[in-house]
Amino acid sequence: MDQNNNLPPYAQGLAFPQGAMTPGIPILSLMMPYGTGLTPQPIQSTKSLSILEEQQRQQQQQQQQQQAAVAAVQQSTSQQAAQGASGQTPQLFHSQTLTTAPLLGTTPLYPSPMTPITPATPASESSGIVPQLQNIVSTVNLGCKLDLKTTALHAGNAEYNPKRFAAVIMRIRESRTTALIFSSGKMVCTGAKSEEQSRLAARKYARIVQKLGVPAQFLDFKIQNMVGSSDVKFPIRLEGFALTHQQFSSYEPELFPGLIYRMIKPRIVLLIFVSGKVILTGAKVRAEIYEAFENIYPILKGFRKTT
């Protein structure tokens, strides 16, 4: 505590960032010793923050606002406490300072509904439409090196053209899936319509490889991408949509007839067409597709093309 008092005022501000979680904070802390109490809000792009991070960031700002209003001695103690406390317990710290110093003003613990992370959705019932999964891409590690030539020779439904591509392409007709098997033992499985189907198909391919005498395992099965599609059953006026949601949409009908909408939370890309068909891609879990669709549905209703 005494150490901190001996530091010149600007260094006290510089000492704070060690406990900070986001890189934008150090700029603010330089302002603290001058104690105006009006800490400027950092102009950070909120696009990449999740709600949890947003909460933590706001708590950080609250902490700084409080510290600016408190006397110098208290300032150094709070700095010490911040440095001592791990980044995981900001809430405890927050409640402590509430009792010792009055807040400048109440700040909400939860992000306001107008942050640009999620599109603003009016309160309404769910759409009643469930998107269908169309394609799942998954990867798995067979755990051993493979000789592609013998694999392709002995397995049915396999093609291997080393001049074109350094992998064996295997297909299973019943599940209509395709697998790319590389010599390193890694395999990519595409075409399945559900997570279970993808896993099952990947296991089948692994068993085919096993039957050829290779000690294949089934390590690190991971779903890399899920594609879903749905139909809202009404035409959509894309020009209006593109104008109001410029931040997230790209609409170039000369290049591609659909509007490309990049949703931040969840991180999904939606292709929206005039006919009302919506394609969602980029999901790692099924819930993300459902959530994205529920987010976009009310907005699409707002741009319904009525006769």
Binding site: V227, L243, S250, E254, L255, I260, V274, I279, T281
Partner: protein, 317 residues
């Protein structure tokens, strides 16, 4: 027309094209394109023919200049770099072109992820096509950039005002349409020169050039052609607005263009009763637009001869 007077060489090529009975004509497509860009429901055929002529002349000129640049480089084909070099002066247009190229990359990346056949094709072809155009643009601008302002354009996120205005105009247009009209409008919007690549190539007629453009350069040329049409429609609409004189309004020439648009459209639909004929862009509007665009107003303009221009004013760059 003034633009042909400034470049006698191009007049020869375009008139010779016309005299051989140019079989390739984009007039019908141009009519649809102009409708999607803000013209009336049925654009005039004469206007489309005139626009086709202007665009063709400008593209031939652009190609010839690009060929010269290519020769300077000692290259065998006209590539994207040469076209980027010609556009380097106009920051806004360059930024728009870069955004277009990036969007093209991004779109192929996304569509690839959706269709699994495309995914396999991409893996088979070596999968280094991702962001190909972006890499080309970035490397090239890196090499010619002296002051750092060209590279700054990659991070630049300013709103493109022209694009904004076009979007707003489209939004206003579509708001009053019904479903059938809107479906037609959407189809027209999807028309572009890049969709009809082979017809575009024939129309451009590169046989007289020694150096031919490559695939990416052709994409950019198709985009520039579309931009030229869009620019012509923008300017012609402004000219048409200026021609409408308001009775008893001494400041009608000073009011901003967008303000007038709101009022005149309301009046014209009420007064004319939705007469499509009077709403269409006339060839005189296009000619006036081109004349105004090529007329450079600078400090010494009263003293310079209009014919001493060293090149024609490109609408696209």
């Amino acid at each position: 027309m003034n633009n042909t007077a400034a470049s006698p060489m191009s007049t020869a090529t375009s008139s010779s094209g016309r005299s051989t009975g140019k079989s390739v004509s984009f007039a019908a497509e141009l009519q649809s394109m102009m409708f999607s860009l803000g013209d009336s429901r049925r654009p005039l055929h004469e206007t489309a023919v005139l626009v086709e002529d202007v665009v063709h002349t400008q593209l031939i000129n652009l190609l010839q200049q690009a060929a010269e640049v290519s020769q300077l480089r000692g290259a065998r084909v006209i590539s994207a770099e040469d076209l980027l070099f010609l556009i380097r002066k106009d920051k806004k247009k360059l930024r728009r072109l870069l955004k277009y190229m990036f969007f093209r990359d991004y779109k192929s990346k996304i569509v690839k992820g959706i269709d699994e056949d495309d995914l396999l094709e991409d893996k088979l072809s070596g999968s280094n096509n991702a962001n190909k155009r972006q890499k080309i643009a970035q490397d090239f601008l890196n090499s010619i950039d002296q002051t750092g302002e060209l590279l700054a354009m990659f991070e630049d996120d300013e709103i493109d005002e022209v694009k904004q205005e076009r979007m707003e105009r489209a939004e206003r247009q579509t708001r009053i349409m019904d479903s059938a009209q809107y479906a037609e409008f959407c189809e027209s919007r999807q028309l572009s020169f890049s969709k009809k690549a082979s017809k575009f190539r024939d129309w451009l007629d590169c046989s007289s050039l020694e150096i031919k453009p490559n695939v990416v350069a052709m994409e950019i040329l198709a985009y520039l052609a579309y931009e030229t049409v869009a620019q012509l429609v923008d300017l012609a609409l402004l000219v048409r607005q200026d021609m409408v004189t308001k009775a008893g309004d001494p400041f009608s020439h000073a009011i901003s263009a967008t303000f007038i648009q709101y009022h005149s459209s309301a009046e014209s639909t009420a007064a004319c009763g939705g007469e499509a004929h009077s709403d269409a862009i006339q060839p005189c509007h296009i000619r006036e637009a081109v004349r105004r665009y090529s007329h450079k107003i600078g400090p010494l303009s009263p003293f310079t001869s209009a014919y001493r221009r060293n090149g024609m004013a490109f609408l696209a760059c």
